[in-house]
Subunit: 222 residues, 2 copies
């Protein structure tokens, strides 16, 4: 009786702002991604390779949610607009942080907005941001048991990248076991195996993402 | 005016319970560790190798904070008492969870209590549990920038293990850069480089831990 209603109110306030953000993206034909992973799972590296590969064919913007500015500095070097959301030590982005940061980007000049969430495999899963796709990145060194241990994150994913597959030869990682854990939580989830270091597997991921950008961009046409 | 006082109350309630727990450990001569890391950083593997190496010379108990029971099952196979704290999806342990779980272990028969926190490099840093030592595990595949990005966790560490050093040949990891980031936050922090897979570096960590157990155990003598 005491706590649940309060949490519900907070969540529904968050969801209302997320819905407003989503409407804005839809009207402008922007595809928005919320990229989530553990610390060191490879969010920044995956985003950087994705931006580098697509920036000549799509107008990309990045929002970087973090407690410091290291990643934003790296991504800014790629020559696309970057907006930094400093969470002030907070463990996740929420809808209000993202919505408040929208004016810092020229949304009319963006087809793909990539939002990098805080490195955390638990808390970000609970907060809608208003994006179209939750992109979850797991990485080989983290181990094949992660879907079993952090179910909410995998349940909420719209697409899953298994990163750092170049390290498979040096680690025990059972892809079938990993994928079975994902399948139970999120049947039929789109799943790519990639290495942001070597570029392996990126063609498939980029082709999929290109299609999503096109779909969104034509949906946004008046 | 609105939120800060509430947070302070919650924190001080947590700290009061932590102080009670700590007193109980001290009276019994138990050394208690709070082991924290990112998901997949190697908390369970480090704990398992530590337990295996020390269980014939010290009486060890483990508290496993997690959202499911996979780790506790593994550790229980080592033949030491294990207590599971299911956080119900919560992103960290707090003092009350640990204090409530104390009766599930025979504390009179324990010299070393290892508490495995939830895999999260942010939230657990904010909650005292009543332990003597915060053990932070970072791992090579996470990258050498982690102290710069997750400062609170490294600032609060009493000892730091850099795990998975067997993967150094396959990754770019600048130990000096990593250690400089740690040094700024936490000057003089005790730091071990280890591999829970190969056992490399464990001798130094175990020798250090043995000393701490002895100190605590003699401090607890009447």
């Amino acid at each position: 009786m005491s706590k649940v209603p309060i949490v519900e109110n907070i969540m529904s306030a968050n969801d209302q702002i997320a819905a407003k953000t989503r409407q804005q993206f839809d009207e402008l034909g922007i595809l928005a991604l919320n990229v989530m992973a553990s610390p060191g799972g490879g969010k920044t590296s995956v985003i950087m390779r994705t931006v580098e590969s697509l920036k000549n064919e799509a107008r990309i913007g990045v929002m970087d949610g973090d407690m410091v500015t290291i990643d934003a500095d790296h991504i800014a070097e790629l020559g696309v607009p970057v907006s930094l959301i400093n969470t002030g030590g907070n463990c996740h982005l929420d809808a209000n942080m993202v919505h408040s940061a929208l004016p810092s980007l020229d949304l009319d000049a963006i087809d793909l907005l990539i939002i990098e969430n805080v490195g955390n495999l638990i808390c970000p899963a609970a907060f809608k941001l208003g994006v179209h796709l939750n992109v979850v990145i797991a990485s080989v060194p983290e181990g094949d048991d992660k879907p079993y241990k952090y179910p909410a994150m995998f349940r909420g994913a719209d697409v899953l990248l298994l990163n750092k597959i170049d390290l498979k030869p040096y680690l025990q990682f059972d892809v079938d076991y990993f994928q079975h854990g994902v399948e139970v939580l999120n049947p039929g989830l789109t799943f790519f195996q990639v290495s942001a270091t070597t570029g392996e597997g990126f063609d498939a991921w980029l082709a999929w993402l290109r299609d999503k950008i096109k779909e969104r961009s034509s949906a946004g046409q008046p």
